[in-house]
Symmetry: C2
Subunit: 165 residues, 2 copies
């Protein structure tokens, strides 16, 4: 396929793979700043209405993001793991977050453009397309981060600006 | 351009315009069920940590969604309006929500595929691309709905399942 056609195709896409990873990594930067905004003890213990502490929501996101993109890129499925050793240290969670950021970038570069519309059973159990799985990863992060914002407000702490990425 | 080529192009897109509107309307259905889950008084009055009641977040979403897609489709800009007459009736908000759903579908059909990557200054003030504006509309809805989930949990009410669209 010649370059002219490729350019023409690109200009008619809703969002390119590069746009999408930049969009997500922008969100991930905001989630990182949300983690940073929590006092250490509240991050692991503060809850509202019987929900999980924000640290447990973040571990869910850690279990999904890197491993999910790795599975999409490599085709190798592994069961979902949402538990990580952290010793009640926010710094450990931030370290895992930064490792995931690199892992996502590494494996994202290996996803072929034609894969996004293909079917997948992610983590061996969730059926959808590759794009719908990735959108789920992002949407789920936004959803839980929004909950983290309420936790922060209830602690009298101003969350980072939602629109800054 | 012949049909074979069009098919080939489509199969290489991350997400098509139709996929994206279906994705969003799926989210909008979930947000509607979240509104329904609130007791009427709590919808207009319950708050945590000095935040807005869920009704005010929903009015923000109402001000963005229909008018935003209308502006993208028609090129006619209008200032953001986040206030609607509701008389403290959830039914009125749900009626406005359903009107917005139809308005979004109507104007979505008028958006040309090549527009998504074009620049826009939405509501006369927010610069970005058409796709980044639409993603903002969706992400902002997920963000505030996640906050609504915490409000519901703090009231002892189970929110609708996040993964059901």
């Amino acid at each position: 396929m010649d370059t002219t056609l490729n350019k023409s195709m690109k200009s008619h896409e809703v969002i390119t793979p590069t746009d999408l990873i930049n969009h997500w990594q922008g969100h991930r930067g905001l989630t990182r700043r949300t983690i940073e905004a929590f006092p250490e003890e509240a991050f692991f213990k503060h809850t509202i209405g019987g929900m999980r502490p924000f640290s447990e929501m973040i571990m869910e996101l850690l279990g999904i993001a890197g491993p999910g993109i790795k599975e999409i890129a490599t085709g190798k499925s592994a069961p979902l793991n949402e538990h990580f050793e952290h010793g009640n240290k926010k710094a450990k969670i931030l370290e895992l977050w930064d490792e995931a950021t690199k892992e996502i970038d590494t494996y994202w570069a290996q996803i072929k453009p034609e894969q996004f519309q293909q079917n997948i059973k992610i983590f061996g159990q969730y059926e959808g397309t590759v794009y719908s799985s990735i959108f789920y990863f992002i949407d789920n992060e936004i959803h839980h981060r929004g909950q983290g914002y309420v936790y922060l407000r209830s602690l009298g702490i101003e969350p980072p600006a939602f629109y800054e990425r």
